[in-house]
Structure formats: structure tokens, C-alpha cells
């Protein structure tokens, strides 16, 4: 079945430094979709960005990620972290043939002043 591995646990950064949260996945489907969801404190998860296309960069709210099927990766990046980026980030693979998303264990990003 599908599975996903994220940067484990807690990532702490100083404001202004670059962000990179790793995500690798395994799927039985040849055409996977990849998602990043973000959950701020006392809120529910919401979609941050997604990709259906191999080797194409997708961007939203200053974050970007590129789906690389050759390495089964979909790392989340941002050039300069902001305090408001502090949140829990989930990577999730899916496909057109699957009813469900398999959420990774989540990476807690904390940005310090």
C-alpha cells in the first residue's frame, strides 16, 4: 500500500532562514498526486499546495515543491521563514485511483525570532 516518510518530529528555525521539509513516498500507482497540508495551532488542516505533474514546480503562499517521480519525493521549501509559518505540516500521496490520502506523521515547524 501507499506510505509516506517526512522529516521527523520538530524543526526549529530562526526567522529569515530557508525552510526545507522532506517528504518521500511509496505508492502502487504509476501516476501519484502529492499534497502538503498545514495545520496551525488550534485549527484544522488545510491544503497548502499540491502537484500532479512530474518535475514541475508548484508554489503557494511563498512555499514551493516539485514532484520528482524518479526519486519519489515532494520536498517543501521556502526561501525565508516567517514567524507565521510555525505550524504542523503533513505530506500526503494519493492518486486518481485511490479514495484516500495517506497522511505522513507530520513535521512541526517552529520559527523563532
Amino acid at each position: 500500500g501507499d506510505s509516506v516518510t517526512q522529516t521527523e518530529g520538530l524543526v526549529t528555525l530562526t526567522e529569515g532562514l530557508p525552510v526545507m521539509l522532506n517528504c518521500t513516498y511509496q505508492t502502487i500507482y504509476s501516476n501519484p498526486f502529492l499534497f502538503w497540508y498545514v495545520q496551525h495551532l488550534n485549527e484544522s488542516p488545510r491544503l497548502l499546495l499540491k502537484s500532479f505533474t512530474d518535475n514541475k514546480r508548484t508554489e503557494h503562499q511563498g512555499f514551493h515543491a516539485t514532484l520528482h517521480k524518479s526519486s519519489s519525493s515532494f520536498h517543501l521549501q521556502k526561501s525565508s521563514a516567517q514567524l507565521s509559518d510555525s505550524a504542523l505540516y503533513y505530506c500526503a500521496p494519493s492518486s486518481s485511483g485511490s479514495w484516500q490520502l495517506i497522511f505522513g506523521s507530520g513535521t512541526q515547524l517552529t520559527v523563532m525570532p
Binding site: 484544522s44 488542516p45 488545510r46 504542523l88 503533513y90 494519493s94 479514495w99 484516500q100 497522511f103 506523521s105
Partner: protein, 113 residues
Amino acid sequence: ETAVFQTPNYHVTQVGNEVSFNCKQTLGHDTMYWYKQDSKKLLKIMFSYNNKQLIVNETVPRRFSPQSSDKAHLNLRIKSVEPEDSAVYLCASRVWGSQDTQYFGPGTRLLVL
């Protein structure tokens, strides 16, 4: 703007009691989900419904039973709660295709004493 509504927000009960949670979405989507988010923030799918038909029933204890009266409503009943049921239960609605996105409700926090 909230489009997935859940009640109650919070529920405290004792072991062995029965509880029910409600979810309604006003987005017109056909697919809805129940997730359990535990104290470690692991997000696990419990049930998937498409147009009020159960599609995916992950391996959850039999004391959990979902119910859908129409595609906009999805409820969850727990027949006899146990301490490990303490968690946040998140309902989500999904749009498919190029706009593929899950929209989460605010969640119901359950505490079993």
C-alpha cells in the same frame, strides 16, 4: 469561510458511554471522510463515504459506526467509548479532479475519563 461544520466542539464522557458526532458540508461535494487525530497528531483515516455510500472502512473497532443520510451529512457514533478513543475527530469533504482538495471541519475533541 467555514463550509464544513462539526458538532459538538468538545465532549467529555466516561468509559462505556455512547457518543455521537455530526458533520455537515455545504460545498456540494460527493465525498466525505472521518479522520482521527491522536495526541501525537497522527492523522488516520477511519471512514470514506461517496454520495452516502461507504467506500473505505479502515480497520477500526466495531464500536465505531458511521452513518450518512445524504451526501452533505456524515455522522459518527461510538457505541461504548474506551480511553484510547480520546482524540480529535475531523470530518472532511473532498472535491476531485484538478481542484482535488480536502476541506476539514474544525473537529470534535473527545475526552474519555
